[in-house]
C-alpha cells in the first residue's frame, strides 16, 4: 500500500513542478495535475478499501523519524481514510469539471487547486495542532486564490472578505494553540487530550478559542456572511469544492477536536449547529441567486453536521454512520448542484427554466435536491432517520423539532428552485451545449448518491433487494424514456399487472382493500395512458415512483420501511403534480405540506420507538404515556395527505392543474395513502385523551368541517377540475369522520366511502379530463351543451355524480346509510347533522358539474368537439361496471370488510341476509332498491316513450345580449356564479380564512427571512465584527468558557 505521506509529496512535488511549466502549453500541466489528483485519490481509496474490507489497522505516520509529540505525526485511520477519500475524489471530479477554466487561467490556477486539496488532506490527517493551523492557512489562501478563476461578478471582493475573515479566525486559533502548547507542553493533539484534566481548569479560554475557531471555519450562523459571499462569487466548480471538500474536511477537524470539549461544550456546539441549520435555511427562503442559495443550504447542512458532531456522546458508535450519511448527501448533491449551476450558467434561480429541454439534467437536479432534502433512497434519508430515532431515544424532542423545522425551510427554497427549473414559464427554453467533461462529474456524483443511498440503507437495515424492486422498475422506465407512449404504457401495465397478480394473494384484510385501491386503481388509470401521443417524457418513471411508494407502504413491516415508502410516494407524486399546467406553486405547496406532514410522522415514529427494541410498526401498540402526542403527530401528519381542513390548501390547485390522467392518480389513489396511515394510527393507538378531551372528537369535528367546507368551496368553483378537487377534500372529510367514530360502523362507513370515492373520483376526473382535453378549457362557464358531442362522458358523469351524492340506488348510498347508523350508534348527532348538510351541498356541486358542462347551450367554438378518446373512456366504463356491481351487491364488499373490522371492533357489526343489511337501527337492501328503482324507471321510461312517440326535435335557441359586448363575458353565462343566491346566504362560510392564514404564515416567514438575512450586509468589516462577537457571545454564554 502506498504510504499516505505520498499524497502530500505527490501534491507538493507536482505543484512545484507545475511552477516550471509556465511555458509548455496548457495541456501538459493539466494532465500532470489531474494525474497527481488521481494518484491522491487512488491512495486514499486504496486505504479506504483496506479499512473496509481487510480490516486494516490505523497507522501513524511519523515525520522526521521521531515519535510525537517531538515531531509532527499524521494518522491514517478508518475515518481519515473516509474523509480524505471524499475530499480527493470530489477534487478529482472537480478537476475534470473545471478542465476548461483551469487551462484558461494557466498553470498557477492548477497548482493553487492542487495545493488546496493537499492542504485539506493534511488538515484531516494531522495530529498536530500547529500543523493543523499551517495547513488550514494553506487551504484558506488557496481558496481565496481560486476565487479568481473564472468567478462570478465580485469574486475579488468575496475573496478579500474571505481572507479577512479566515485570517481573523486563524489568528484566534493561533492564540489558542500557543496556549495549548503552554498548558500541555506539547502540540500533539493526543497529548493535549490526554493531559486535558491538568489544564482544563485554567485553559478554558484557550479551549474556547480553538474550538470556536474550528467551528467558525465551519461557517456557523451568524458569523458566516463571508462564506455566503464566497459561494455566490466563486466559480461554480470552486464552489463545489469549497462546499464538498473543504466543508467536509473541516467537519472532521471538529470531530477530531471533540475529545477536548467538556460535556457542557457539547450543548454549545449542538446549539451553534442547530442555530446555523435553522437560521440559514430561514434566511435562504428569500434567496434568488442560485449559487448563494446553495451557499445557504451548504451552511445549513454543515450546521447540522456540527450539531451531529456535538452529539457524539449521545450518539456513541452510531455517530459516524449518521454523520457520514448526512455528509454524503451533502457533498455529493451540493457538488452536483454547483456543477449544474456552472452548466446552466444563470445567476438567478428563476432563470433555470432553461433546463426544461434537458430531461437528463432535470433528472440530475431533481436527484440532487431530493437527496439534500433527505428523501429516500438517498443517504441523508437514512441519516436523518437514524438521527431522529437516536435523539428520540434520548428524549431530545426539542432538538428533533428544530431539525425538522430547519429541514422544512430548506425544502421551501430547494423545491421552489426545482419548480422554477421545471416550470418557470417566462424563461425561453433555449438549447445550450454541454461539454462532456462538465457533464461527466455531475453524472458520477448522481450515481454515487444512489450507490451511497443503498450503502446507508444497508447500514440501517434497509437492504432487501426486493424492496428496491419497484424503484428499479421506475429507474428502468427512466432508461426506456425514449420509447413512445404506447410501448411505455404497455410496459408499465405489464409490470404493475405482474405485481398485482403476484401480490394480491399476499394481503388480507384492510391491506387488501388498499392494495386493490393502490395497485388495482393504478392499473385502471394507467389504461387511460394510451390516449397520449408522442413520448410523454418523464411521466412513467415518476408515476411508477409514486406507485412504488404505495406498494412499498403496504409491504412495510417496520417504521423505517413505512417512512421510506411514504417519502418515495411523496416524491413521485410531487413530480407528477408539477407536470401539470401552472402547477409550480401548487406542487410546491403540496411538497411542503407533505414534507411537513412527513416530519410529524417521523417525529411520531421517533417517540414511538424511543427506548424500545426494533422499529416494528407493532410498537405503536405500546407507546405508553406519550401516546396522545404520538397520536396527534401521526394524525396531523397523515391528515396533510388527506387534505383535512387547515391542511388542505395544497390540494385544489395540485389536483386541478394536473394532467388528465394524473388528476385521478393523485386524487383517487394518492389521498387514500393518508387514509391508510390514519387507519394504522387509529388501530394501534385507539382512543387517546389529552386534557380529558378525546382527540377523536376533535378529529371528528375536523372531518365534519372539512366535509362542509370542501363541499361548499366546490359548489362555488368555476373551474371543473378544481370543483372535483374540492369535492375530494369534502369526501375525505367524511372518511376522517368515519374513522374518528372509532366504531365498527364508523369504519365501515369510512372505508366504503373511501372505496367509492376512489371509484367515482377516478371516473369523474377522467371524464372531466376528457372534456377539458377536448374543449381546451377548464372553466365551466365556457362550456355547455356537450351532451350531444360527448354522450358517453355525459353518462359517466351522471352515474358519477349520483354515486357521489349518495342518491340511491347507486353504491354511494351505502356510505350514507352506514354513516347515519354509525352516528346514531355513537350519538354524535350534531356532527351528523352538519355532515348531512355537507352532503346536500355535494348535491349542488354535482348538479352544477353535469349541468353547466353537458346541458344548456353548446358553445360555438365547441361545435366540432369530439367524444373523449377511447382510452380515456375505457377505464371510466370499467369503473361504471364496478359501481353497478357494488350497488347491486353491496355485501360483496361490505360483508368481508365487516368481517375484517370485526377483529378490531366486534360490537355493532351489521347482520346480513343476502343483500339485506341490518343494523340495530335500520335496514337496507341494496339489490332490492336497485331493482325497484330500475323497474320503476324502466316502466316510466316506457310510458314516456309511448306518450311522446311523435315528438319532434328542435334546436335550442340562441341568446343575444342586446348587441352589447359585456365587460366580462363570462358573467352573462348562465353557469357563471351558479349558486348565487346560495352564496349570498351562506357565502361567509367559505371565507378563505385558512388560505389567508397560510398565506400570512408564508408572508411572515418571508418577512422574517428577509429581516434575518439583512445581517449579511455585504460589508467585510461587519463580517469580522460578527466573528469577534461570536467569540464574545459564546464566551458569555459559557460563563467564561466553562
Amino acid at each position: 500500500m502506498v504510504a499516505p505521506i505520498y499524497i502530500i509529496a505527490a501534491a507538493l512535488g507536482t505543484a512545484f513542478t507545475l511552477g516550471l511549466l509556465h511555458k509548455t502549453g496548457k495541456t501538459l500541466p493539466y494532465v500532470l495535475m489531474t494525474l497527481a489528483l488521481g494518484l491522491m485519490t487512488f491512495i486514499s481509496l486504496e486505504w479506504l478499501l483496506a479499512f473496509l474490507i481487510d480490516g486494516q489497522k490505523e497507522e501513524i505516520i511519523y515525520t522526521a523519524g521521531f515519535k510525537p509529540p517531538f515531531s509532527i505525526s499524521l494518522l491514517m485511520g478508518k475515518m481519515e481514510a473516509v474523509f480524505i477519500s471524499i475530499v480527493n475524489t470530489m477534487a478529482f471530479l472537480g478537476s475534470i469539471y473545471m478542465a476548461r477554466d483551469l487551462k484558461n487561467k494557466g498553470v498557477n490556477s492548477m497548482l493553487i487547486y492542487l495545493l488546496l486539496i493537499m492542504g485539506l488532506n493534511v488538515v484531516i490527517m494531522t495530529r498536530d495542532i500547529f500543523n493543523l493551523f499551517v495547513f488550514l492557512e494553506v487551504s484558506s489562501i488557496a481558496t481565496a486564490g481560486l476565487l479568481l478563476i473564472g468567478g462570478r461578478k465580485n469574486a475579488v471582493s468575496a475573496g478579500l472578505k474571505y481572507l479577512i475573515a479566515t485570517g481573523t479566525i486563524a489568528g484566534f486559533l493561533l492564540i489558542g494553540i500557543i496556549f495549548f502548547y503552554y498548558y500541555a507542553g506539547s502540540l500533539s493533539l493526543d497529548d493535549i487530550i490526554a493531559s486535558k484534566e491538568s489544564w482544563i481548569s485554567v485553559g478554558n479560554i484557550a479551549l474556547l478559542l480553538v474550538l470556536l475557531s474550528v467551528i467558525l471555519e465551519l461557517k456557523p450562523f451568524p458569523a458566516n456572511g463571508w462564506a455566503l459571499d464566497v459561494y455566490q462569487g466563486a466559480n461554480p466548480g470552486i464552489g463545489a469544492i469549497i462546499s464538498a471538500s473543504s466543508a467536509t474536511a473541516m467537519v472532521y477537524v471538529l470531530y477530531k477536536m471533540m475529545p477536548l470539549a467538556s460535556e457542557a461544550w457539547n450543548y454549545v456546539i449542538i446549539g451553534i449547529g442547530l442555530l446555523s441549520f435553522v437560521a440559514s435555511n430561514i434566511a435562504g427562503i428569500k434567496q434568488t441567486n442560485a449559487q448563494r442559495l446553495l451557499g445557504y443550504s451548504s451552511v445549513g447542512q454543515i450546521g447540522l453536521a456540527v450539531a451531529i458532531v456535538g452529539m457524539h456522546q449521545w450518539l456513541g458508535s452510531g455517530l459516524m454512520t449518521i454523520l457520514l450519511a448526512m455528509l454524503a448527501s451533502h457533498f455529493l448533491a451540493k457538488a452536483g448542484l454547483f456543477w449544474l449551476a456552472g452548466i446552466v450558467n444563470k445567476e438567478t434561480t428563476k432563470e433555470w427554466g432553461i433546463l426544461r429541454n434537458k430531461p437528463v439534467l432535470l433528472f440530475l437536479m431533481g436527484t440532487f435536491i431530493f437527496a439534500l432534502l433527505g428523501f429516500p433512497p438517498f443517504p441523508s434519508f437514512f441519516g436523518k432517520w437514524e438521527l431522529i430515532m437516536s435523539l428520540s431515544d434520548l428524549g431530545q424532542y426539542g432538538i428533533v423539532s428544530l431539525i425538522l423545522i430547519g429541514s422544512l425551510f430548506e425544502a421551501v427554497y430547494m423545491l421552489r428552485w426545482l419548480g422554477y427549473a421545471i416550470k418557470e414559464d417566462k424563461e425561453e427554453a433555449v438549447n445550450f451545449s454541454i461539454h462532456w467533461e462538465k457533464f461527466l462529474p455531475v453524472g458520477i456524483v448522481a450515481t454515487a448518491l444512489y450507490a451511497a443511498g443503498y450503502f446507508f440503507g444497508w447500514k440501517s437495515g434497509y437492504s432487501d433487494w426486493y424492496k428496491y424492486m419497484p424503484l428499479a422498475f421506475a429507474a428502468a422506465l427512466f432508461l426506456l424514456d425514449f420509447l413512445p407512449v404506447y410501448v411505455k404504457n404497455s410496459i408499465t401495465l405489464l409490470g404493475m399487472g405482474w405485481y398485482f397478480f403476484e401480490m394480491y394473494t399476499q394481503y388480507t384484510g384492510l391491506k387488501f382493500v388498499f392494495f386493490i385501491i393502490f395497485i388495482g386503481g393504478g392499473l385502471l388509470i394507467f389504461l387511460a395512458g394510451y390516449y397520449k401521443k408522442g413520448k410523454r417524457v418523464g411521466f412513467y418513471p415518476l408515476a411508477i415512483l409514486m406507485y412504488a411508494g404505495l406498494a412499498l407502504m403496504l409491504e412495510a413491516s417496520n417504521m423505517l420501511e413505512f417512512f421510506f415508502a411514504w417519502e418515495i410516494m411523496t416524491a413521485g407524486s410531487y413530480f407528477l403534480i408539477i407536470r401539470g399546467k401552472k402547477s409550480m406553486t401548487h406542487a410546491l405547496n403540496y411538497a411542503l405540506f407533505s414534507i411537513g406532514g412527513a416530519f410529524l410522522i417521523l417525529a411520531g415514529f421517533g417517540i414511538t420507538q424511543a427506548g424500545k427494541d426494533g422499529l416494528s410498526l407493532e410498537l405503536l401498540y405500546q407507546v405508553g404515556s406519550m401516546s396522545p402526542y404520538v397520536f396527534i403527530l401521526l394524525a396531523i401528519g397523515f391528515m396533510t395527505k388527506t387534505a383535512s381542513m387547515g391542511l388542505h390548501i395544497w390540494l385544489p390547485g395540485a389536483h386541478a392543474e394536473a394532467e388528465t390522467d394524473v388528476s385521478p392518480m393523485v386524487s383517487a389513489v394518492l389521498l387514500k395513502a393518508g387514509v391508510y396511515g390514519l387507519i394504522i394510527t387509529m388501530i394501534s393507538l385507539g382512543n387517546q385523551f389529552i386534557g380529558g378531551i378525546n382527540i377523536q372528537v376533535v378529529l371528528a369535528w375536523i372531518g365534519v368541517l372539512t366535509a362542509l367546507m370542501g363541499n361548499m368551496m366546490a359548489a362555488f368553483q368555476e373551474d371543473a377540475k378544481r370543483l372535483l378537487a374540492y369535492s375530494s377534500i369534502g369526501q375525505l372529510g367524511y372518511v376522517l369522520f368515519g374513522l374518528a367514530l372509532m366504531s365498527h360502523l364508523g369504519w365501515l362507513t369510512a372505508i366504503s366511502v373511501a372505496i367509492n370515492h376512489f371509484l367515482f373520483k377516478a371516473m369523474l376526473f377522467l371524464a372531466i379530463g376528457g372534456v377539458v382535453l377536448r374543449t381546451k378549457t377548464k372553466y365551466m362557464y365556457q362550456m355547455g351543451g356537450l351532451i350531444k358531442k360527448m354522450p358517453i362522458t355525459f353518462i359517466v358523469v351522471l352515474i358519477g355524480i349520483i354515486t357521489l351524492s349518495g342518491v340511491p340506488p347507486l353504491s354511494g348510498f351505502a356510505g350514507k346509510w352506514l354513516f347515519y347508523n354509525a352516528i346514531l350508534e355513537k350519538g354524535w348527532y350534531l356532527q351528523g347533522a352538519v355532515l348531512f348538510f355537507a352532503g346536500v351541498i355535494a348535491f349542488l356541486y354535482c348538479f352544477r358539474l353535469i349541468h353547466t358542462i353537458f346541458l344548456g347551450q353548446l358553445k360555438d367554438e365547441h361545435r366540432k368537439v369530439k367524444e373523449a378518446p377511447f382510452w380515456l373512456l375505457l377505464p371510466q366504463i370499467l369503473v361504471i361496471v364496478g359501481i353497478m356491481v357494488l350497488s347491486a351487491f353491496p355485501n360483496s364488499i361490505l360483508k368481508p370488510l365487516g368481517e375484517v373490522l370485526y377483529s378490531y371492533f366486534p360490537e355493532g357489526a351489521l347482520s346480513w341476509n343476502d343483500q339485506l343489511a341490518n343494523s340495530i337501527y335500520g335496514y337496507w337492501d341494496g339489490k332490492m332498491v336497485l331493482y325497484v328503482v330500475v323497474a320503476i324507471f324502466a316502466s316510466v321510461f316506457l310510458w314516456a316513450l309511448i306518450v311522446t312517440r311523435k315528438s319532434q326535435k328542435v334546436k335550442q335557441f340562441n341568446i343575444v345580449y342586446a348587441a352589447e359586448r359585456p365587460f366580462r363575458p363570462e358573467t352573462t353565462h348562465f353557469a357563471y356564479n351558479f349558486f348565487a343566491p346560495f352564496k349570498k346566504a351562506l357565502g361567509f362560510l367559505v371565507y378563505p380564512g385558512i388560505t389567508n392564514f397560510w398565506n400570512r404564515v408564508g408572508q411572515s416567514t418571508m418577512a422574517g427571512a428577509d429581516a434575518l438575512r439583512k445581517i449579511y450586509n455585504g460589508n467585510g468589516q461587519a463580517y469580522v465584527l460578527h466573528i469577534v462577537l461570536f467569540f464574545i457571545v459564546v464566551y458569555f454564554i459559557t460563563a467564561g468558557g466553562f
Binding site: 486564490g145 475573496g159 459571499d229
Partner: protein
C-alpha cells in the same frame, strides 16, 4: 510582583497589540488601514508566542561555547514557540500580501478603498 517580569510584560503588550489590531480591523473603513490593523493583530500574536517561549535568565536556544552542553536544558529558552513564530510570521506575510493585492484590485474596480462600498454580494 510576578508581573514585573519580561514574559508578563511582553505578553501584556502582545495582547494589547492584538486588541489594537482588532480595533484597527473593525474601526477603519479604509481597506489599507484594515490590513494594517490585521498585520498588527498578527504581530501581537507573535509577541505573545515569543513571550511564552521565554524563561527567565536563559539564553537563546543556540548551543555555542557559552552553553554547557551537559546542562542545556537548564540554560536555554523554549525553542518550540520560536520555531512556530517563524512559521507564523512568514504565513502572516503571505496573507498580508494577498490582502493587499486584493485590495489593490478592488480599488481598480471601484476607485475606492472604502470596504462598505464592496457590498454587491449580500443577503
Amino acid at each position: 510582583m510576578k508581573f514585573l517580569s519580561p514574559e508578563y510584560i511582553s505578553m501584556a503588550a502582545g495582547f494589547l497589540v492584538i486588541l489594537i489590531g482588532i480595533w484597527g480591523i473593525l474601526a477603519n473603513k479604509n481597506l489599507i488601514r484594515m490590513i494594517i490593523g490585521f498585520s498588527l493583530f498578527d504581530t501581537g500574536i507573535h509577541i505573545v508566542m515569543v513571550a511564552i517561549s521565554y524563561l527567565k535568565d536563559r539564553t537563546a536556544p543556540i548551543i555555542d561555547e557559552t552553553i554547557n552542553t551537559q546542562e542545556i536544558a537548564k540554560q536555554i529558552t523554549d525553542p518550540v514557540p520560536q520555531a512556530l513564530v517563524l512559521t507564523a510570521i512568514v504565513i502572516g506575510l503571505g496573507v498580508t500580501a494577498l490582502m493587499l493585492v486584493y485590495a489593490m484590485k478592488l480599488h481598480k474596480e471601484k476607485k475606492s478603498l472604502d470596504i462598505t462600498k464592496f457590498n454587491d454580494l449580500k443577503w
